[in-house]
Symmetry: C2
Subunit: 173 residues, 2 copies
């Protein structure tokens, strides 16, 4: 699927069928994550891939009951690697670059999943401490995104967006 078509067509999917997502597809998504640009190529992230029902239920609970986490076939928990970020870039690495790295990873996964016929939802609203506990994360791993992934059971309309004239400035504000 064409890049621009994927960018335009992707939606947040919050209802999934029970259809199995193949290991091959999961591997393609991991490869898309792997190729994301990262600050100074520091790759300051880790992925935890969750498929077990009870663990997804606990992640859903940590995400204030968002049902798509539990309903998804598989959930990617994207963690910022604070140790790696700190070693490469100090405070700016921890508070900015590793958050950008993990977001680029996430966007690559979302677009690739859509091109494979899968639905995804980018989830940022959750209790980080609770998620850390569910995935047994070391102290220097900060979960910042959960991506719920599965075959879509809904086709939402596009959300409204601002016009370019509302967010683009030429030369200066």
């Amino acid at each position: 699927m064409d890049v621009f078509e994927a960018i335009r067509g992707r939606r947040s999917i919050r209802k999934f069928t029970s259809q199995v997502v193949s290991e091959e597809m999961v591997n393609v998504l991991v490869e898309a994550a792997r190729m994301a640009p990262t600050a100074g190529n520091a790759q300051a992230y880790m992925l935890v891939i969750v498929r077990e029902g009870e663990r997804k239920r606990r992640l859903s609970e940590a995400a204030f009951g968002q049902g798509q986490v539990q309903m998804a076939f598989v959930v990617f928990v994207v963690c910022a690697d604070l140790k790696r970020a700190m070693a490469s870039y100090g405070e700016r690495g921890c508070s900015l670059y590793c958050l950008q790295d993990t977001a680029a990873v996430t966007e690559n996964v979302l677009l690739t999943a859509y091109s494979l016929g899968l639905g995804t939802c980018w989830i940022g609203a959750f209790d980080e401490t609770a998620v850390k506990s569910v995935i047994n994360a070391p102290v220097d791993m900060r979960p910042v995104v959960m991506i719920s992934i599965g075959y879509p059971a809904e086709m939402p309309m596009p959300r409204p967006r601002r016009l370019p004239s509302e967010f683009v400035h030429n030369e200066t504000f």
Copy 2:
């Protein structure tokens, strides 16, 4: 161009030719930015598009002399809109979501540019205060990315990446 092909083929480009990037192409890049997913669809970002030579020179200076900023035909300064982020999500909006929003915007621009035959570089290392001054940014606009864009004058080799076994965990760490 196929999504996955773009994800795999994209490189950071730091040398550009003087070839003009058409307005049509810039508009496609703006549209790719516009379609990025944002937390709660809050679209907590603004874009400043810089083409003037003297202004690019000053941005390059603010980026500690990174030459690709000055050499690029056009530079997108991607700003996190702290006011919008705060209004929607408070502190987590300002310190996380708007940084993720701007990174998703950036990745969409990078992939689309590559599919159009353009080169880009994601720049995160700069003096934010100096950049704010160059683009006359209001106090609540935080420049977090500069994207230098132009026709590539180099074809870098892919940077090494970790193996999936080095960054993927199943179920837990």
